[in-house]
Symmetry: D2
Subunit: 457 residues, 4 copies
C-alpha cells in the first residue's frame, strides 16, 4: 500500500506497472545512498528537536540494517510500494515505529531521490575515475616497452608517416586523462546537498540544510529550493555526457584493436578471453568483447538523448516524466564499468607482433621525411613538397633501403613525437587530474561513515 | 558450456556478463519465435532428407514444448549458455538426441536470430496496430458525442479560433490512422524470410529457402545472403521509427490532457486511476500516468538512436556490436504497449466540463470571423484583415453577445472543419489502413500453427 | 514590412534574425512549391466566386513568374519580409493588385507552408528514388561481371567463408531495394492535401478542399483541420527516417570500400576523382569522398533527432518551435542527393584487383566446407563441427591445394548464395518497388503543369 | 587550385561541392583564429631559424591584414581552394612570397584546424559565459523586486505549495551558475596547444611546441601528437554538451514564460518585441521568440548527436568524416548566442501582474502548511499528513481567510526557501564561478595581441 493512495481507487495492475516502471529494481541500487541521506536527515531532525535521542538511535540502526540488506542486493521492494523511498519509510516505521513516521518531516520524495542520486553519482564517478587512472597507467607502462616498436601511422586508413605502438598506447592514456578531467564538472555538481528543497518550495520549518551537507561530506548545500528540483535529469545528463566522452576514447581504441588484430593487419593478438567462437564456423575466433566495447558509445549517446529529450519543453518543477531519467543513468554507469573491465583486460593482455608491425611500413610512408630533408637543406616547405610529389612517391627516400624505421623516428625529437620519452609527462598530468577527484572520494567516505559507525554501535 | 568454446580458456565471469549482456533475459521473449522458425527449418531439413520422419517428430515435439515453457516465461537460460539460441539447441539435443545435433544444419545463430526477430516484430506490430485502431475508434466515438462541445482552438498556446472538443479527439484519431500507415513499411520487411543466409555467405547444401518462407506464412524469402545479415539492426530501427511516430501522436495528446486538466484550464477531469498522490502534499492528485506517456517519445528517440548509431561506420557482415540492438527494440515494443494501455484508459475515462470549455472562449477569438464577414461582403481578405486589426481586436464581433460559439462553428462547413460530421470519413480511412495489416496477421497465424498442430499431435 | 506587425513596435534587428532564422534562404527552395499550391488555391477561389477570371489570370501569371525566378534561385526574400510566404503575397499584390490581396482568403501561413513542404517532399523523394534505383541497377550490372571474383567473406572483420565481389555488390543493390520500399510510407503521407486547414481550425467559408487536392495531383485531402497542423514536423521526420535508412546502406558500403581500398586489403582501387591529397604528405591519396559518405548517417540521425525532439512535449496546434524543423529537412534532402552522386560515381568507377581478392582467401576459410562434406556424408552437423574443430582449423580442407575458391562456391547452389545468378531476381523486386513510386511521380507532374500551362498562355 | 591536387584529374563539380561542404562559408568564421595560430607558428619558425626577420614581418603583416578582412566578413574563399586554411596559405604566398611557401613547415591542415578551433572555442565560451553571468545578475535584480510577489508553486502543472515570482527568477539564476561551471571542462581542454602534432605523427624538425602555447596565451601544450588528432570532434562535443546544458535551463524558463503569459495563467506580459502577429487572425500576439528559444535544446541535442555519432567506430587518426563536425559546432555557438539575446531581453522586459499571481493561489495549496502546523504541535509527520488528507484538502487551512499568502511564506525561513533573501548568496557563487573563466579571457587577449601589435607596427 502506498502511503498517499486515493481512497479505494482500484488500481489497474498494468497501469501500475507502467507507473512504477523499473523502480523496484533500479531503486535497489539507489537505496544504500538513500539510507545515508536519510541518516544525515535524521541527525538534523534530532538536532532540531524533532527526533528524540532514542528515536534517532532507532532510526539509525534501522537505516544501517536497511543499507546492509540493500548492499547485499536483498532489499525487496514490492510493486505496490511503488519505489524504494516509500519502501524505506515503511521499513523504518516497522522497525522504529513513531520515529519512522517522523522521518519524512521536512522532505519530499522529490528531494530524497535527488539527494540519493547525487551521492550515488559521486561514489560511482570516483570509482570509475580510479579505474580510468589505472588503465591509463597500464597503457603508459606498455607504451614504455613498445616505444621503439615501429608501426605505420595512419590517416584516412592509409599509411601516412612512421609511428610506433607506444605512440598509439600513449595517445589513449593522454585521452583518458582528458576524459577524467571532464568528470570534474558533474562531480562538482554532485558534491552539493539537495535536501531541504522538499517538493521545490521548501517547508515551514527551520531546517538546517548546511548541516546536512556537512554530515554527508558534501562541499555545500544548493540554495534555491526550486533550482534543486530543476536539477533532476540535469546532473544525470552531465554525468552521462562525461561518461560518453570516456567511452568514445575507449571505443575508438577498441576499433583500432579489432582492425589491427584482423588477418589483414596482424599487428596484435588478443587475449583469448576477449574472443569467442562461431556456432557454424569451427575456425573462428572473434573479437566479440572489443566489438561490444566499440558499441558502448552508441548506447551512451542514446542514454544522454533519453535524459535530455525528456526535459525538452517541460516547465519548472517536478513532473513524473523525470522518473524516466533514472534507468538510463544507472545503465550508463553499469555499461562504463563493464567497458573499463574489458579494456583493462585488453590493455593487459594484447601482444604485438613487432616484426609484422615494422615490416608493414611501405617505402612511400617516408615521403614526408624526404620533404623535410629538403627543408633542412634550406628549401621552402611548399617547394620541397612539390618536388617530392613530382618525383613520385614511390622513388626511394631511404638511401640505405635496409635502414630501419627507427632511424627515421629518431629524427622526431619534439615534444610528444613518436618514439620520444613522453610517458612520464603524461603520468604527471594524469596524477594531477586524479588528485582533483580526492575531495569527492573523501566526502564519499565521510558519508559512508555515517552508518558504518551506527552499525558498530 | 557453450558449444564452441575455446579449449579450456578460463572465462572471466565479469567479462562473460558483458559478453552475454541481457540476452538470457531478452531471449526469453525471443525464444517462442525461435521455436517457430526452427520448426519450419526442421521441416525443410526433413524434406531435404537430412532429418528422418521420426527425428522431425521428436524435434517438433521438443520445439512445441520449449515454446510452451517460454510463453509461460519459464524457460531458463543459463549464463554459460550465453543466449537463447544455444539454450534451445541444447534443449533439443537433450530431448531429441541425434536429431537435436542436426538442427543447426544449414543455418547460423546469425540468421536464426534475424529470423526470430522478424517473426516477433510481425506479431507485435500487428497486435499494437490493432490496439491503435481500437483507440482511434474510441476517440471517434467520443468525438461524435463532443462534436458540439465548444473549446478554444489554440495556436502558440493562445486562443486562436473557436473549435470543439470533438475536433481535438478526431485529430488524434486521424493522426493514429497515419501512424498505422507507417507500420506498413517495417511490416513489409518483417514479412520476409531470412533463413538460409547462415552467417552471410550461405552453405554448401541445396537449402529450400522459399519453402521455409511459405511454412512461416511469410510473403517471400530475401535473396542475397549477405544482404540478409546487413538487415540486422535495420528492421529494428525501421520498427522503432514507426513506433516513435505513434508515440509522438499519443505523447502530444497526453500533453494536451495534462494541461487541460490543470486548475488553470479545467476543461477535463482524468480518471482517478491515471493519477497518483504526493508523499508530502495531502491535497495533490497528479497526472503521473499521462506524464509518463508524454515522456515515451524521448525514450523511443533514444532507442532509435542506439540502434542506428551502433550501425554507423560498420563494414558489411555480422559484428558483435549488433547484439546490442536487441534490447532497445524489445524495450521499445514494451513501452508502446504500455503507452497504448494508458492512453486507451485516458480515451475512455476522461470527462469534459462542457460549460467551462465553452465559457473560456474570449471575445477576441472571433476576430477572424469578423474578417470573413467582411470577405463574404466582398472585401479583399487582406483589406478586411487590416480593418479588423485597426478597429482593435477587443471590439465585439458578436452582434448578440449572448450568441453561442456553436453558431460560429456552424459557419465552418468545409471538409474537416470543427463541428462538422467527419468521424465516418476518418473511420473509413482507418479501416482501409487496418485492412492492409491483415496479410501479416494471417501470416503470423500460419506460423503459430506450425507448432500448435505439433502440440496437438 | 511584414503584413501583421504590431503598430510601431521597434523591432530589434538581432532578435529579428533569430525569429526569421534561415527562412529567407531556406524558403528560396520552398517557394517554387508554394507557387504551385497557391495556383491550385487560386483556381479554387475562382471556382468559389472569390477571384474573378481576370484576377485569376493575373495571379497565375504572377505565380508562374515567381516560380521561374525562384527556380533560377533569384527570388530575393528580404529580412523584414520574414519568410517566403509573405514575400510571395507581397509579390502578388505588386503584380496583381486587388487579386493579390485576396490570395490569402481561406488559408493561413500555417497550412501554406505544410502544403508547399508536402509538394517538395513528394518531388524530391521521387527524384532520389529514381537515383537509388539507378545505382542499384548499376551495382547489379557490376555484380554480373564480378560474379566469379572470389573474395573472403568476413564476419567480425575476420575471414569467415568464401564469397565473391558480386555477392557484396548485389547485397547493396538488394539493400537499396528495401530502402526504396521505405520511401512509400512518407510518400503516401506527402500525397495528400493540407490546404483548407488554415491555422488548424478551418475558416467560415465553403472551401472545396478536395478540388485543390485534385488540382495538385494529390491522392486526396486530409480531413481534420487540427490534424493537418499536427503533421508539421511529422512528415519531415518520417521522410528523414526513410532517408536515414538509405544513408545507412550506402554509408556501410562506403565503409567497405574505404577498408578494401587501403594498403592492408588492396582489393579495390577508387576512381581518382573520389580521392584527394594531403597538405603535408606528398604521397597520399585519401578516400575523402567515401569518408564523407560514411559520415552522412550521423548527420541524418542528427536531423531526425532535431525534428522529433522539437516536437516532444508540445500540445496540439502550431507553435513557432516548428519553424525549426524546416532546415534539417532541407539539409537532409540535399545531403542524400550528394551522397547518391558520390556512391553512384563509386559504383561506376571502382576497379577490383581480382588476383589479390582471390589470393587473400586463407586455408581456414574453408573449414565450414569441410564440416558440410561430413554432413553430406551423413554426420550430424554438431558432430561434424566438433570433429573439424578438434582436428584444428589449419589442417587442409582442400584435397587439391591448387583448387580454386570458385569450386567451393559452386557447391553453394541455393537461392542468393555467393556465386549464384541472383541479379535478375533482385532486379525484378527493384522494378516492382520502383513502379509503386509512379503515382507520386505522375502527381508531381500534374502539379507542375498547373503553372507550366499558365506560363504558356 | 588546391595545392595537392592529383595531376590533371578533372574534378567533377558536384562531387567537389560535397567534398568542400560548407567550409568556404564556415571557415570565414574560423579564419581569424587561424591567423592568430599562424602568427604564433610563424614566430616559432623564426626562432627556429626557418623564417628570417623580414620574412616573419611580411608574414605577420599579411596575417594581420587577413584577420582584419576576415573579421569584417570579407575574406572570400573560392570553391576550388576547398577550405580556409588553403586559402590563407595562398594569401600569404601572394603577399609574402617565399615566406608564404614556408608557413606550412612543421604543421598540417590537420593540426592547423584543431588549433584554430580551440582558439575560437575559448573566445566564444568566454563571451557566452559573460552574457550568462549578466543574465543571471539581471534575474537576481528582478528577484529582489519580486521577492514578495506570491505565485503558486507548481509540481506536475498543479498547484503544490505557495511560492513567489522571485523564487522562480532566482532558481533560473542559480541554474545558470551551475551551467557556467560546466563551461570549465571544455574551456580547460581548449586552453591547450595542438600545434606541432602535424597530421598526428609529428615532423622531423625540432619544433618548440611549448613556445607556441605560450605565445597563444594557452595554459600548456598537449603532448602526444596522435592524441591531439584524436581530440578532433571531442572538444567540439564537450563544448556542445556544455552549451546544451545552458540551453536546457533557458529553454525551460522560456517554457514557463510561454505558459504564464497565456490567457489561461495571465501572470506575466511579454515585451512586444518578443512577440509577432498572425497572417490570418488579426487579434493574435504570439510568443514566437520564446517558442524559438524553447526549441533550441532540441537543436543542441541534434548537434551533439551529429558530432559524436560521426566518431563512433572510427579508428585513431584523422578521417575526412571529421570535417563534418565543424558545422554543428559553429551553428551551436551561434544559436546559443541568439538564445541569450532573446532570454536577456525577456529577463529585462517581462512584467508581472502581481494581483493576478496572488489571487490564483487556491485554498488547498496551503494543505501542507496545515500538516506542518500539526507537526510543530508535536505530531509525527506521517500522522499529520493522514489527518489533513482525511479531513479533505478543501477544508480551510487559513483561520483568517483574508490572510495573505505572504504570511505563509514568512514561515519558510530556511536557506533558499521562497520569500527568503537568497539573491546575495547566489551572486557570490556566480562571481566565484565567473572568476574561474578569467584565465581563459586573459589568454584570449594575449592571443589577439599577437596580431594587434603587428597591425600597429
Amino acid at each position: 500500500m502506498r502511503l498517499w493512495d486515493a481512497n479505494g481507487a482500484s488500481v489497474d495492475q498494468a497501469v501500475l506497472a507502467f507507473t512504477v516502471g523499473d523502480d523496484p529494481v533500479l531503486d535497489r541500487e539507489l537505496l544504500p545512498f538513500d539510507c545515508l541521506a536519510s541518516a544525515a536527515h535524521a541527525r538534523m531532525l534530532h538536532e532540531m528537536g524533532i527526533l528524540r535521542s532514542a528515536e534517532l538511535e532507532a532510526v539509525l540502526d534501522a537505516l544501517a540494517e536497511a543499507r546492509r540488506i540493500a548492499l547485499a542486493d536483498r532489499f525487496e521492494i514490492a510493486l505496490e510500494q511503488e519505489d524504494g523511498h516509500t519502501a524505506l519509510e515503511l521499513f523504518l516505521v516497522e522497525r522504529a515505529g513513531e520515529a519512522g513516521r517522523k522521518i519524512h518531516t521536512g522532505r519530499s520524495r522529490n528531494d530524497q531521490v535527488i539527494a540519493a542520486l547525487r551521492l550515488l553519482i559521486r561514489e560511482r564517478l570516483v570509482l570509475l575515475g580510479e579505474q580510468i587512472e589505472e588503465i591509463a597507467h597500464l597503457l603508459l607502462d606498455r607504451s614504455e616497452t613498445e616505444r621503439e616498436t615501429a608501426l605505420p601511422g595512419y590517416t584516412h586508413t592509409r599509411q601516412a608517416m612512421p609511428s610506433t605502438v607506444g605512440q598509439l598506447l600513449s595517445s589513449v592514456a593522454e585521452g583518458l586523462t582528458a576524459d577524467l578531467e571532464l568528470f570534474l564538472g558533474p562531480l562538482a555538481l554532485a558534491h552539493r546537498s539537495a535536501l531541504g528543497s522538499a517538493s521545490g518550495y521548501g517547508v515551514p520549518l527551520p531546517l538546517r540544510r548546511e548541516r546536512i551537507s556537512q554530515l554527508l561530506g558534501l562541499e555545500r548545500s544548493d540554495i534555491n529550493t526550486l533550482y534543486v528540483q530543476n536539477t533532476r535529469g540535469r546532473l544525470e545528463s552531465a554525468t552521462l555526457g562525461a561518461l560518453h566522452q570516456a567511452s568514445l576514447t575507449l571505443g575508438r581504441f577498441a576499433s583500432d584493436l579489432i582492425w589491427f588484430s584482423s588477418e589483414a593487419f596482424g599487428f596484435v593478438s588478443l587475449p583469448v578471453e576477449l574472443t569467442t567462437g562461431s556456432s557454424i564456423m569451427p575456425q573462428k575466433r572473434n573479437p566479440d568483447l572489443l566489438e561490444l566495447a566499440r558499441a558502448v558509445p552508441a548506447s551512451m549517446l542514446a542514454r544522454y538523448t533519453e535524459v535530455t529529450a525528456t526535459l525538452h519543453g517541460l516547465p519548472a518543477g517536478y513532473h513524473r516524466d523525470l522518473q524516466r531519467t533514472k534507468a538510463p543513468l544507472l545503465a550508463g554507469l553499469r555499461d562504463v564499468r563493464a567497458l573499463l573491465a574489458v579494456m583493462g583486460a585488453a590493455a593487459r593482455g594484447i601482444e604485438f607482433d613487432r616484426e609484422r608491425c615494422a615490416n608493414t611500413l611501405r617505402e612511400e610512408i617516408f615521403a614526408t621525411d624526404r620533404v623535410y630533408a629538403l627543408v633542412r637543406g634550406g628549401a621552402a616547405f611548399r617547394d620541397a613538397y612539390r618536388e617530392v610529389k613530382e618525383r613520385g612517391a614511390d622513388s626511394p627516400v631511404r638511401t640505405d633501403p635496409e635502414s630501419s624505421p627507427i632511424e627515421f623516428l629518431a629524427a622526431r625529437t619534439h615534444l610528444g613525437a613518436p618514439g620520444t620519452r613522453q610517458e612520464e609527462w603524461i603520468r604527471d598530468r594524469l596524477r594531477e587530474v586524479a588528485a582533483r577527484l580526492q575531495p569527492n572520494a573523501e566526502g564519499a567516505a565521510t558519508a559512508r561513515a555515517l552508518l558504518d559507525s551506527a552499525a558498530q554501535d
